[in-house]
Amino acid sequence: MNRTLLRQFAAAALFCAAAVAHGDGVYEPVPLKDDEQRLIDESRELHGYFERQSLLYNEPRVVELVASVGRSLAPPPTDGYIDYRFFVLRDPSPNAFALPNGDIYIHTGMLARLSDTAQLAAILAHEVNHVAGHHGIVQFRSTNRKIVASMVLTGVFGGIGSVISTGLAASMYGFSRELEQEADDQAVALLLASPYESQALPEIYGVLARDYEGITPRMATIWSTHPQLEARAQRTREQVAGAPSGRRDTAEFDAIVFPIRTMTIRDYIQDDYPRTAMALAENLAARYPEHPELVQLTGDAWAAMGALTQFDEEELSNRERARNANRRVMRTRQEREAQLLKTPEGQAALRENLGRARAAYERALAIDADFAPAYRGLGEVAERLDEPRAAAAAYVEYVRKAPDAADRAVIVQRLRTLRDQLRTEETSDAATTSN
């Protein structure tokens, strides 16, 4: 047993040593070897896949903003296979990535979290440098060596497991620590040479470091693939210290990205990330307090919290984060809620969260009495609090005020159930009276 463990440890150590011993990015022409053309082909195929799956976000003003900022930062391509193109992907997770052919994607979830054009420029400057430094190809060559080495090791020691790779995996999930740091360093240089505020680069690491749901364990080992976000923030903060102020274009950015922000909040609610939704919604509602849709979205986020309690991010241990993440996979939403409702804390949290949701919907109606979605929200809150009469009244109001709503059939279905409940109540009341 000990011998096996020692062998596995030795294999792991050798593998890790191989993993960090690779070259830096190359900022001059890099001719492709035979099997590397596949990376370019895969990049093109991936774009076709995104198109076929309707995953490209095509709102012209947003697309043009991203493309114009990206183009202003991209250096001239060094190779025929590189053509810088910028796209927005319809995905609520905060991510961006660059493919070896120059295709750069930023998620709607990332755009929704940014404050201004300078932060967008910081993200794109980082990604542009992954392309300019041929990081995809450098990592591919390094990974191939690593995989061969690890296969030899696993073959000899019978131990640490197989290594699975696709050529573009690093481009999508992040490069080696050295290549990420190099992209950071080069991004600083690009930003300092641009009209944009260079302080935006350390700022975005603060944005990315938030773990509202408490499900991302923080890996702090020397072998973690990326430098920790806090460390990256600190390093880039020092690099841009003293630099002259640049453009942020906050108002223009906000106006263009506003629909993405509300869409992302809805996505987080639908995908059961209510704390994230609430943080984004409350931030937005605080900035636009007279906007009924934002107030209603805050209510939706509170309602989505259900029996969840709030917590202090800093106090959560890695173990708790890992456990939370595991629960999301192992249990359905309904099971997690039912589990929480078995405790007095969960029951109290549900009442409190639904109370806040109700207050938000009422506030939205105080701003605009005809704002139909707030009635739907009131109906949902009443239904969950087992108040069928109030729920039915709010739903009817919603359907009457928004007869063409996309979710009409869903609400009418709920009304069918409530009708049965009301009839039962009526029958029971009649029986009580006659007795």
């Binding site: 896949y49 992907l89 296969m151 639908q270 995908d271 009244a393 979710d407």
Partner: protein, 261 residues
């Protein structure tokens, strides 16, 4: 995004593994088996195909070839359901892309399906009958928009190991030593939003399932055969068993009357 794709792939692979102990190709709720939630009309979202080629040091996801295979899967699923008397259609990516509202609903519903598919992998198949997997209002909205009783999902995964990769996997004991293909089909009811039926071939029927070379020799025919094997237990449509929906206005009037009392 790709993370989600890979999660799907893992879930799919584990589902296949989980089904090894299962004897039936269909896992369904009792109401589906009795007919009460068996749909009359079904719209399948664009079928998904994943073709993974395992080489010695790389694993390649063949996205373009996958698109063609997905078309064959869609055609064979339609044929199998029509043969049992269902009104069925398959949405194409163009159908979805042409309607921004539909596009939103499809993306939302697909994310929700991915979530429950990932959860289903741990307890398949017995939990389907207990209505453990509920896809929420996203699926109800989509079914309503499409005007159908149920939304369908069909997937095919083809794992092709090159000869070298097979040899290495035999030597090391890791990876796949051969090629394999797996199809799965789900039906989610537009009213309950539950997975009412899930079809995946049991291990006893895997003997007939072809590897990559056999599939590519005649993909339409082979995928047709595999789909037929997967959907062998699909019951006939039973329009009489499913309750007819009353009009929205009738429901609203009833509720308003009750509220006035």
């Amino acid at each position: 995004m790709l993370q989600r794709l890979l999660t799907n792939a893992c879930a799919f692979a584990l589902l296949g593994g989980g089904a090894i102990t299962a004897q039936a190709a269909m896992h369904a709720t009792p109401e589906f088996e009795e007919g009460a939630t068996r749909p009359r009309t079904i719209a399948f979202l664009p079928p998904q195909a994943m073709l993974i080629k395992q080489k010695i040091v790389q694993q390649e996801n063949q996205l373009e070839e996958s698109g063609e295979l997905a078309n064959y899967l869609g055609a064979s699923v339609v044929a199998a359901f029509k043969a049992q008397g269902y009104e069925v259609r398959v949405l194409t990516p163009n159908d979805v892309g042409a309607d921004p509202e539909l596009q939103e609903l499809v993306l939302d519903a697909s994310r929700r399906y991915t979530e429950i598919l990932t959860q289903m992998r741990t307890r398949l198949p017995r939990q389907i009958g207990k209505r453990r997997y509920e896809a929420g209002d996203e699926m109800r909205l989509l079914a309503s928009k499409l005007g159908v009783d149920a939304v369908g999902f069909a997937e095919i995964q083809i794992f092709a190991a090159a000869a070298g990769a097979s040899a290495v996997s035999i030597l090391t004991g890791f990876g796949s030593a051969g090629s394999s293909t797996l199809i799965s089909v789900s039906l989610i009811d537009g009213a309950t939003a539950n997975i009412e039926a899930f079809f995946v071939p049991p291990v006893m029927r895997r003997g007939s399932i072809a590897g990559y070379d056999a599939i590519m020799a005649d993909p339409a025919a082979r995928i047709g055969e595999l789909t037929e094997a997967t959907l062998r237990d699909l019951p006939k449509a039973d329009a009489a068993a499913r309750a007819a929906a009353e009009s929205d206005e009738d429901v609203l009037s009833d509720v308003e009357d009750l509220l006035e009392n």
